[in-house]
Point group: C2
Chain length 761, copies 2
């Protein structure tokens, strides 16, 4: 089954096109280009014509209505960088566009195995002659700065002149939507062109633009490779460069026009030198060879990340799209991370959140651990800024990671559901601990992860205090953003306990390995013993009366908001209710304690989870796209596989069905990761335990089975689940411990394992 | 003893001048003019040249860093209206300024009995000749739009030409300070001149300016009355009008130059017609007669508001200045209120806060009840907007008064220490109930106060809920702004209980009087019974362990911030600590529970107050100017009169000593009221009880006595306290109940009352 997403004969409405701009974006973790039409849209269409470099940002003013101490008044924002998408095509002087009279067979195909996005249509001239035009785009996984557009023109019966205008703009404006708190509200010219050069000999345009404030530069180089029928004509050079190729089109001859763009930024490249050598590299191979390499890269990816369900084709399309989006979105260089919208749009201003660690890292940890390690390295590069952030918040020690950031500066404007979400600290620690357990990668731990865990632990000890014998954490916000700045958020306290206990557990190893950071940070045995005490004394609120875990100290005492009685148009509630109103009620935007039931399942017995799940489910609106996937996983934990399926259905198709009505602003990257979690951690019941990988499969009625690959301790495993048996085999690597249901074995390449599927848990 | 504030031979530093601009401002509750030099300052001085009309505002953008639902993104701001202050004086072509070489005897006098502000100096020409120049300003209490400047020039030995240039600018810019959260951060041209006219026959300039957004107009009319030596010369007319008067100055002849300005606004006047008739009215009398009327007005004021301490002259200056500031600041027309900075500057953007009801109204209630009634009427005029505000906050019934406003729109940008201070509702209700008890003014209650009390009570019932048998109020902020959005703030809950109980008590009276609002609001007996139940069930948090009242549900469980160990430069803490840090600690910006001990003293026994006072005193930084006066009053309640005196000292001189370092932005109007409270409610121990006025005097060692006048139930009382006896007499009015210490009598004009002073309580 080929991995393709297609849209055939779609309606040319603005809404659909904006949505497709997102869905058909092409990205490689370094650059991302939205799927805009090369020829543009009619004037009354709103388009977010965008191209982004991961980690390239400017600093925008963030005016606070009241500027209290420590409120950031600058924020980092992703930049819409140089626009090289525009290509206009004229046949006998008539402009060829998808909007032309008589256009038919307008199709788009995202080929996730080839790593290209194709758009094609049959165009009809005023005289009634037809040509097929197609545009194939690629952002190269093997040469990250490279973006290509290949235009192919085949005449059915047209004969005449052809003229192709290709534009190269050195800067672009960010998209603006003043009515949505999740989007930028005002247009800003962040980038300005510093130098435009057209090299006639090389037929190469090079534009360098600089940011207003962050002192970054972006260089784009554009050149073309065209069929012999075409000849270079006019070149106009201004702040932009526009080149025209002219020729003749006849029946039976295919015109092929390739536009190569290279995107280089000053954070990673030497803009004086690197541009030229990249051009040379690209020119050394024909486009087909770049296509070939792209396919090979993805071939490896799909082998490592293989994941499929038997019995639900639409779901598989969505699963493929999710995993493909993740590999498209993830920064792989330690300088960048994964933005909430990947590289597909400017929603949330390109910020990195806890989404990475809790929703997306497990996928990389289990399929592409090199990338997971780079994501940890990224956090390490901003550790110093996290220390500064902790000082701003009044903490005398430790580091507090920013809730929203690109290069480390806190960019969240409303601290109650931003900076106050201290749990990002324990989320990062959790992901490091999980990564270490899954991979055994001691080097990453000693170089990056260990220091992060120590510094975030120090923050916890400064932020919390003993109240009698209890260690408490006050005035923080948990994952649920409808209940902010509370005392003893259960999720946070439990995550901190987990992190502290693990630090205590890892400390002898750090000592034994003579970890550099122990000296650097002057870690003492006493300090570690303080962590142990605090973890042991950690207060975890519980209602004896209701026999459930309390989301925080006062949550259960508030009146329940009857969300089932509210009109549908009131959702998401954040757009229709004042925060004070929401905070005053029992209502949850998303999984909070239920997320703890997943991440820390070993800390609970199933009956307690069941009671808590039933209670909090009634209160949760799932107004966050991070919610349904977690409810799905925990439904599986409590054995309600059909409910798990319903939540999974909801969660897995958010973008391809645009069910949250904002996919036009970019994909929901965390939800892509959540879909992976829902299948692998939910239905397959995978858990990374200290000494074993664990599977507890459950299949919903609709499916006959599922299969996927994971990497555990460096070994590549393949898992096939159906309603008869679970078959686990090892493709490469050394023997590992594996537990299926409650049976444990050592799995090796020689010894695969089949175990009967259990209908009842 | 004359009531004057003087500054003699003061330093011409920018700091001192900015401070004097505030201290020597002249205002009458309608207009306020800062004490700027007519001739201006040297170029490198920063001056806030200001003139304001109470209640005249524009609407400014208030950008929220994150625009959540219900966050206001507009705010009302006081306007710096037309500038008519400028008068330049030239002698033989040399400009006369206070900054000239050889200037001496530079003095300022604010005469609080005459109601004028005088500035004078002796100026020396380059040739060494001297003249005395003086500027006397008045904002008329008897003709509110009128502002006059009288310039007098007396030659010692100068003979030569004199030239006076008088300017009239129809608009001015608001003052800007980007570094202070309490001031506006960006310059805005709110007013633009729509029409400038100079009437040659009448020698009158008239400029009309309109606001950008609020659709208000301000008209200013300027004309002059000059000694016969001067003749009108050049008139320049542009957006501004500048007129020149020329003449000769000789020894022995005084030149007198009077500039009349009239300020009219479109909220109160018909700008087409009223200007002309005001000009006529002013011209009907010579300036001296306007001075005379001013003095008569103030004579009555000082008789009604008489207040003096024996044995502390500086304190009396400060007391006089406080009361004078209050009469200068208070809106007296039901359209306006009292801004936090009065009409002396643009600090807090001219907003009205709870300061009015809790800190300033008691003064008016007891000395000028007509004004107190107008302040209640003002709240009534914005009741409809308060209802709208309640809907924005999600409440299905009732009204929530805006925390900061001018004409009713919530203008607070940070809701945790703004909109969340719901207690403004019960503060307004409290002031109405107190006013009614002090005056017996049933008419005000039936027309305005009653409806406000019902609508605010409805809000409470919607905002709170029953938790078991307790009625609780969650997610609100009490007076202490270092602890925000908490559950069951003691002060709030107690104030609400008080308000609900009083509504229950007043209901039969409302029914008997067939109050219109009962029908209008469809008040039912059941509703009233619900208030009774909620009041009875009101939860008031108390720590059994510590035996003190808890500021809120979790306050006492937080770590204490050791404020005595913090460096001095860390204060005020709000400028040096992130709110989350402050919220996480036991630390108070101001009196919170201690304010409840004052306002609701009958609800506590003295021992409980003593314990609470001792506890909370250690936690309070008094970073708010509203704090010390309350600590002084409650120190008196617990019998520590010397501590009371120290707090009173601190609080009573904030502006004249500029101890908070921001008097340059305007007076601390609430503190002026607090000073009154400190003396009358503190040392004299006055309370307005349901059926009696109560006095419990205590005098600090330093004073030999004090005396003051109050109006109670329409009767004017005079109270003299010394360490021998308390002497209460009635000047006008019907007999009233009076209680001194624990003795109660009926006081009448015929029967005054002397009772021995009790050294020990």
């Amino acid at each position: 089954m080929s991995k393709q997403m297609t849209r055939r004969d779609f309606a040319l409405t603005n809404e659909e096109l904006r949505l497709q701009e997102t869905l058909f974006h092409t990205a490689n973790g370094y650059i991302g280009v939205r799927g805009n039409f090369e020829e543009g849209y009619p004037e009354d269409f709103v388009s977010s014509r965008g191209q982004y470099i991961n980690g390239v940002f400017d600093i925008a003013d963030m005016k606070q209505a009241e500027q209290l101490y420590g409120f950031p008044n600058k924020k980092e924002v992703i930049l819409n960088v140089a626009d090289t998408q525009t290509i206009r095509l004229y046949l006998d002087g008539e402009e060829v566009t998808a909007f032309g009279q008589g256009v038919r067979e307008l199709n788009r195909v995202l080929d996730m195995e080839k790593g290209t996005a194709l758009r094609s249509f049959i165009w009809k001239s005023q005289k009634g002659e037809e040509v097929t035009v197609s545009y194939r785009r690629m952002t190269s996984f093997t040469l990250l700065p490279l973006f290509t557009i290949e235009v192919t023109i085949i005449s059915h019966d047209f004969e005449g002149s052809v003229s192709i205008v290709s534009e190269h703009h050195g800067s672009a404006q960010n998209f603006v939507n003043p009515n949505d708190p999740r989007m930028a509200a005002e247009a800003e010219d962040y980038l300005s062109v510093a130098e435009t050069r057209y090299d006639e000999e090389q037929q190469l345009s090079k534009i360098t633009a600089v940011t207003k404030t962050s002192e970054l530069s972006v260089q784009t180089l554009v050149f073309h490779d065209v069929s012999s029928q075409l000849e270079l004509g006019l070149v106009e050079e201004d702040e932009s460069v526009s080149v025209v190729y002219d020729g003749q089109l006849t029946v039976g001859v295919t015109i092929d026009f390739v536009k190569y763009s290279l995107f280089l930024d000053s954070r990673r490249y030497d803009l004086e030198k690197d541009g030229g050598s990249f051009v040379e590299t690209v020119r050394q191979k024909p486009l087909n060879q770049w296509y070939q390499e792209q396919e090979e890269y993805l071939d490896k990816f799909w082998r490592q990340a293989e994941l499929s369900v038997v019995g639900d084709p639409l779901l598989n399309e969505s699963l493929n799209y999710s995993l493909y989006s993740l590999i498209q979105s993830a920064g792989k260089d330690g300088i960048s991370n994964i933005a909430a919208k990947g590289l597909s749009g400017e929603g949330y201003e390109g910020h990195y959140f806890w989404d990475t660690e809790i929703y997306m890292m497990p996928f990389f940890t289990l399929t592409y651990p090199e990338i997971a390690a780079k994501l940890i390295e990224f956090r390490y590069t901003i550790l110093e800024k996290a220390r500064e952030n902790a000082r701003i918040l009044g903490h005398k020690q430790g580091a507090l990671f920013p809730w929203r950031t690109i290069s480390g500066a806190e960019s969240s404007g409303y601290y109650p559901s931003g900076t106050a979400q201290y749990h990002i600290n324990s989320d990062i620690a959790y992901s490091i601990i999980q990564y270490y357990q899954a991979t055994g990668d001691l080097d990453c731990l000693l170089r990056f992860g260990g220091e992060i865990v120590v510094e975030t632990s120090r923050l916890w000890l400064d932020a919390g205090h003993y109240e009698g014998k209890r260690f408490v954490l006050n005035c923080m916000t948990g994952p649920d953003e409808y209940t902010c700045v509370v005392n003893n958020n259960y999720y946070t306290n439990l995550s901190v306990q987990y992190q502290l206990n693990w630090l205590v557990k890892l400390y002898p190893l750090f000592k034994e390995q003579k970890a550099d950071f122990l000296d650097k940070l002057q870690v003492t045995d006493q300090e570690i013993s303080d962590y142990e005490s605090a973890a042991a004394a950690m207060y975890l609120p519980y209602s004896e009366e209701k026999q459930i875990h309390a989301q925080d100290d006062s949550f259960l005492e508030k009146p329940v908001l009857p969300i089932n009685e509210l009109p549908k148009q009131d959702f998401p509630l954040l757009l229709h209710y004042h925060p004070l109103y929401l905070y005053r009620h029992q209502v949850c935007k998303q999984a909070d304690i239920v997320l703890a039931y997943f991440l820390h399942d070993e800390a609970f017995d199933t009956e307690a989870i069941q009671r808590g799940y039933d209670y909090y489910e009634k209160l949760t609106t799932h107004d966050s796209s991070l919610s349904s996937c977690i409810f799905s996983i925990v439904a599986n934990q409590i054995g309600d596989v059909e409910k798990a399926y319903r939540y999974f259905e909801e969660s897995s198709k958010i973008d391809i069905t645009n069910s949250h009505h904002n996919t036009q602003d970019g994909i929901h990257a965390a939800n892509m990761g959540g879909t992976y979690l829902g299948l692998v951690f939910g239905f397959a019941g995978l858990r990374i335990r200290e000494d074993s990988l664990v599977l507890t499969p459950r299949l919903p009625q609709k499916w006959t089975g599922c299969h996927f690959s994971v990497n555990y301790q460096g070994s590549q495993l393949h898992i096939v689940i159906n309603k008869e048996e679970i078959h686990v085999s090892m493709e490469t690597g050394a023997p590992v411990n594996l537990t299926v249901y409650d049976e444990r074995r050592i799995l090796s390449q020689e010894n695969d394992w089949k175990i009967p599927y259990r209908k009842e848990r």
